[in-house]
């Protein structure tokens, strides 16, 4: 084992290493100052962590020349991993931007907050790049534990504590299942390395009970993380209780990270035994799409609404893992990128309307936003339309790609279910839009009028950038699709 080889491994983990360094730095910075009640700590540390994300991005870009040469380790440096890094970094950058005013206003422990956010991103990036189930597990746990802590970070919020504890307990439970699955796979194939698992499963006839049970348990572990019915129950509660920017981060980054890994494992390395998990995924996708959309119809709390909407999107994305051809893989990547932007944009708007707090989270609180804050309302409407898959937004292209991929592998029924559930989803997405544009704000009986929303620069940036990206991705998607097509695992 030469030093050069070691160096390669460090290089492969470059973006993660940069982020870790920044996170540790922020932690130490937090304890090195005596006056922890500094008003502008949020702004300062927010900028530092943003710088960390940007630095990680630069390193990520710098890794492209090495993309195909470093392939022997347990950390993949392929264009797929680099692309997923982009999405995760984008998601966390937006999360940082929408957090800055929030943490200052809520007096949250700023250094821990940002450090954990970065650690979570590190974990997710590690997970998406790993070629070994144990490393997947480690990445998943780094991310999960950070997010458990983030959910409870506002110690004065009982709801937050409850959400965090709930998430932790159930998360630990699902981790158990996940690990059990890994153990069974290891037991039957003799390795936790994905490449070796692939080789062990080439001859599909002699797959035993143990392997298949392991694979299913692994899948259930993932399904829990991305919130697939019936493993979704924690989602609405936890989304509702967590601080709003964290909810946004969870709905975006955890989902994206888990799905990137999900696809890598199931779409590529367990593809040989698709007969074992295919049927299950088919049903899960169907139940998730229909069920989540139906339940979302009656939600009034926007965080719960978004939780169910996120569950529904997991259902759509499950189709891509199942269909598993180049179109659906690009569909997955495209969809996750667009979904990240749209959902984070949406949460930016939510944070604004809630005035960096946890009130005004009912759908009816958005009445009259269109006349009071036309720019925010317009941006939110576009994001909602994109989530619903309206033409000329990025979401539409993503859905088209998924549909196309599903039809290429003859999943006609799932395609129809996807379209039908999209139709259902319009109802609740538009309901929010309808409140914004079509309803006047109810005359507030209590004397305190809704405070004028002040828009910090960071949030303006998130809203504007997201808006531009979504519309651009809807009208000129070919460049992004072209880029994605060079990042596919199924080259």
């Amino acid at each position: 084992m030469s030093f050069l080889n070691q160096w390669n491994y460090f290089l492969a983990l470059g973006p993660q290493a940069i982020l870790t360094t920044f996170a540790i730095g922020i932690l130490l910075f937090g304890v090195s100052r005596n006056n922890t009640s500094d008003e502008h700590q949020g702004w300062l540390l927010g900028r530092i962590s943003l710088a960390g994300v940007i630095a990680a991005g630069i390193v990520n870009a710098g890794l492209y020349p090495f993309a195909d040469r470093l392939s022997d380790g347990i950390v993949a440096v392929d264009r797929y991993a680099l692309f997923s890094n982009w999405v995760l970094l984008l998601g966390s950058a937006m999360a940082i931007l929408i957090s800055i005013s929030y943490v200052e206003k809520q007096r949250i422990q700023v250094p821990e907050y940002f450090a954990l956010l970065l650690f979570a991103t590190v974990g997710l990036m590690l997970m998406t790049a790993s070629l070994d189930l144990m490393l997947v597990f480690i990445g998943l746990e780094i991310a999960s534990i950070s997010v458990y802590a983030l959910a409870t970070i506002d110690q004065r919020s009982p709801k937050g504590s409850e959400a965090g504890l709930k998430y932790f307990l159930l998360g630990a439970f699902s981790t158990g299942i996940f690990l059990y699955g890994v153990a069974l796979i290891y037991g039957s194939t003799g390795s936790a390395n994905l490449t070796e698992i692939l080789n062990a499963t080439v001859d599909a006839d002699d797959t035993g009970v143990m392997l298949i049970t392991g694979v299913i348990m692994l899948a259930v572990g993932f399904c829990f993380k991305v919130g697939v019915v019936p493993f979704h129950m924690w989602t609405p509660d936890v989304y509702q209780g967590s601080p709003m920017p964290i909810t946004g981060y969870m709905s975006v980054a955890i989902k994206a990270g888990a799905f990137f890994t999900f696809y890598r494992i199931f779409g590529i390395y367990l593809d040989n035994i698709q007969f074992s998990w295919g049927t299950v995924f088919w049903w899960l996708a169907l139940v998730t799409m229909i069920g989540a959309n139906l339940v979302a119809l009656v939600q009034n709390n926007i965080k719960r609404l978004l939780a169910y909407s996120g569950i529904a999107h997991s259902g759509y994305l499950l189709i891509t893992v199942l269909a598993n051809n180049t179109t659906s893989e690009s569909g997955l990547l495209y969809y996750l990128a667009v979904y990240t932007v749209a959902n984070m944009g949406l949460f930016a708007g939510f944070v604004l309307v809630a005035n960096h707090a946890e009130h005004r989270v009912e759908v009816s609180d958005y009445a009259g936003l269109g006349s009071k804050q036309p720019f925010i309302a317009m941006a939110l409407t576009v994001f909602l339309l994109s989530l619903g898959g309206f033409p000329a937004t990025g979401g539409f292209i993503g859905k088209i790609l998924i549909l196309r991929g599903a039809l290429e592998d003859n999943y006609l029924l799932l395609a129809i279910a996807l379209v039908i559930s999209t139709l259902i989803s319009y109802w609740y997405y538009l309901r929010l839009a309808w409140f914004m544009w079509m309803k006047e704000q109810a005359a507030t009986p209590n004397t305190e009028k809704a405070p004028e929303i002040e828009i910090p620069l960071a949030l303006k940036l998130v809203l504007a950038v997201s808006l531009v990206l979504i519309v651009y991705a809807g009208i000129f998607p070919s460049q992004l699709i072209g880029f994605i097509e060079t990042s596919l695992l199924k080259g």
């Binding site: 030093f3 130490l28 304890v31």
Partner: protein
């Protein structure tokens, strides 16, 4: 192919039947002649005071976590130390990084007041 799963199913079945059966059997079979003394949690012990579910200070957890972290450190360090000669400088660098990270963690905990009891 589902044939190969039958043993598993049998195992499931046997264990479930066993578990339920034991409970039911003991319920049916055991002779019950309750007296007030027998109803007490500890037949010949002290009468319990208060709830058994007592909360205790979170500080214990912090110490426990610190212990586990440094305990695990030795798990890595001792095998490395034994093979120091053959592993070379690369591994030395890696282990140093590991120790450095742990040391930074310790610094953080210290500064944060995690080691102070009061």
């Amino acid at each position: 192919m589902s044939g190969s799963y039958i043993p598993l199913l049998v195992l499931f079945g046997v264990s479930i039947v066993n578990a339920i059966g034991m409970g039911i059997a003991s319920h049916i079979l055991n002779p019950r002649r309750p007296t007030p003394v027998k109803e007490m949690p500890y037949e010949s012990g002290m009468i319990p005071l208060g709830d058994t579910r007592q909360r205790f200070s979170v500080k214990f957890y912090v110490v426990a976590i610190s212990f586990i972290v440094f305990d695990l450190e030795t798990v890595f360090l001792i095998p490395w130390a034994v093979n120091l000669q053959s592993l070379g400088w690369g591994v030395f660098g890696a282990v140093s990084l590991f120790v450095l990270l742990l040391a930074l963690g310790l610094v953080y905990e210290w500064r944060k007041g995690g080691l102070e009891w009061e």
